[in-house]
């Protein structure tokens, strides 16, 4: 499942996949703005809660070739570090 964060007003969705990877994307569906952290996570893909658009949490890409912002994640000492610059 995803978790919603707001970092200095920027809305970010954080996901931990079943195989233990952590990904962060903009918490806003490119279709109509759905809160992606509330979608159903299947592997690396998140399905938007509003109209079921499928978006990859790693690349930020949907099947419709929309793309949303992704954030770089580093894990150290049991902490998750998120870098706000675009990859």
């Amino acid at each position: 499942m995803g978790k919603a964060f707001e970092l200095n007003g920027e809305k970010i969705a954080l996901f931990k996949t079943e195989d233990g990877n952590i990904f962060a994307i903009e918490n806003r569906c490119p279709h109509l703005g759905g809160e992606l952290s509330q979608g159903i996570l299947s592997g690396k893909n998140i399905f938007c809660p509003l109209h079921d658009l499928k978006i990859c949490t790693k690349t930020g890409k949907s099947e419709e070739s929309h793309c949303i912002k992704t954030y770089e994640i580093k894990i150290a000492d049991n902490h998750v570090y998120l870098y706000k610059g675009e990859i």
Partner: protein
């Protein structure tokens, strides 16, 4: 509505396969004077000839703007089932009203090949298994977890998708009502957060009002909560209760705590409500206590998980003010006899309910409702309303099962086991700090730091 020989508007009931033709006449402002006096839409046309009236560029799916040509192209390119066409073109993916026409196009394009494949519909594109094969395999191999099912039954995509995940969770809960631990990560947002998501990411809160009956105390609490949390809209719903719309996710548990009312399950694949008419205590025509029976049924059945949402009603005379003919289960109490209607639906596919039984004793009527409900839970496919289920399997199959008194008893017992596990979800979350934090809290960080938690 016809103005100067042009159709300017239309409302269709029942068989709505002509809706796209009507829309086409409206959009193209077609002069219908020549066809008006005969019959605009020849009834009894076969699906093929109905399709012949669609030009390739005509829009079939009004929600997503998909033309007949786009659907045909997708089929020719390899989409052989309704689900594949939906995935490829988006036709039928929103309201579903055009699915009949999409199926007709599939049938026209593929012929017998489609008829054969439509008898066996895979539950989603991750597997070739139908619901019936899947449930058989789960039982045979003793599978207990969704993940296990996906691995053992060779899912093409072992992570599943937004279709099969909630479906597997439902089937496991239905098969193992006591042992299955609900997989909240496989739940659609509404059922995970126990509220209805709205277009702007806020939620709707609908507390229980058993039988559509309220009292000053509940109304005061609702009013106070609505004021305190600046609820932007309070709507009286079609299910005889109040919907508090525009609530922020973070406020949901606080509102439930202050309301101190049970969840109305308005977001669930579950019993929504038992709608009732006024009944014999006040109405001059009422022959039974419809409110009393409605409250009793709603209390007995609340929280039950079903393949799709389930709406019930009780009317106290043939005037049927509670609209029992368009509910999944509708009861009409007459002087000395109960009529039980099933499979009614007032939604996308309008359908009048079928009269299942007329019985004299209230106890027998309740036994039949419980048995019918359990048979629906076991036999229907996930996301299949009673109306579609009855259309698919036929009323006779259901009657054959329910006519058997032993089977009726067994079904009722299995339903009672499932009901015994129910806990009010709002109360449970209010008392569980960890879930409140995990599901409802948005972590807000305003400093310059980049550490967002661990």
């Amino acid at each position: 509505v016809i103005k100067e020989n042009k159709i300017v508007g239309a409302v269709l009931f029942g068989e709505t396969i002509d809706s796209h033709k009507v829309l086409d006449y409206i959009q193209k402002e077609t002069d219908i004077s020549e066809i008006m006096n005969a019959s605009i839409f020849k009834t009894g046309e076969s699906k093929e000839s109905v399709l012949a009236n669609y030009a390739p560029e005509d829009v079939i799916c009004g929600c997503n703007g998909v033309s007949k040509q786009m659907i045909t192209d997708a089929i020719v390119a390899g989409s052989c089932t309704l689900d594949e066409v939906k995935a490829c073109t988006k036709a039928g993916k929103s309201c579903g009203g055009c699915i009949g026409v999409v199926n007709a196009i599939l049938e026209e394009t593929l012929g017998d090949e489609f008829k054969e494949s439509s008898n066996k519909t895979p539950i989603c594109s991750c597997t070739n298994l139908s619901k019936e094969e899947l449930v058989e395999a789960i039982k045979e191999k003793g599978l207990m977890l969704s993940k296990e099912i996906r691995m053992v039954l060779d899912w093409k995509n072992e992570d599943g998708c937004s279709k099969c995940r909630p479906a597997l969770n439902y089937y496991l809960g239905m098969l193992y009502p006591i042992d299955h631990v609900d997989e909240k990560e496989s739940r659609f947002v509404n059922e995970r957060l126990h509220a209805n998501i709205q277009k702007d990411g806020t939620y709707g809160v609908m507390p229980r009002m058993y039988g559509g009956v309220t009292n000053p105390n509940d109304l005061k609490k609702i009013a106070e909560v609505a004021e305190k949390y600046n609820v932007p809209l309070i709507k009286v719903t079609g299910a005889q209760r109040l919907n508090l719309l525009g609530v922020k996710k973070d406020d949901l548990p606080k509102i439930w705590e202050e309301l101190d009312m049970p969840s109305g399950y308005a977001y669930g694949k579950s019993l929504r409500m038992v709608k009732t008419c006024v009944g014999k205590d006040f109405c001059r025509f009422g022959t039974v206590d419809s409110i009393g029976l409605g409250i009793k049924l709603e209390k007995a059945l609340e929280g039950i998980q079903t393949p799709h949402k389930l709406k019930m009603s009780v009317s106290a005379c043939p005037r049927n003010c509670a609209e029992a003919g368009i509910k999944d289960i509708g009861i009409v109490g007459l002087d000395g006899v109960w009529e039980i209607y099933v499979g009614g639906n007032a939604g996308v596919d309008l359908r009048a309910g079928d009269l299942l039984y007329r019985v004299k004793a209230e106890e027998e009527m309740i036994d039949i409702i419980f048995a019918f409900l359990q048979f629906y839970r076991e036999d229907a496919r996930y996301l299949e309303r009673t109306s579609h289920w009855i259309e698919r399997v036929g009323l006779d199959k259901i009657k054959n099962v329910l006519d058997d008194v032993d089977k009726r008893k067994e079904l009722k017992e299995r339903l009672e086991i499932a009901l015994s596990t129910h806990e009010d979800p709002w109360k449970k979350i209010v008392e569980d700090e960890k879930t409140r934090k995990e599901l409802f809290e948005t972590v807000v960080i305003t400093s310059g730091g980049e550490n967002v938690g661990n």
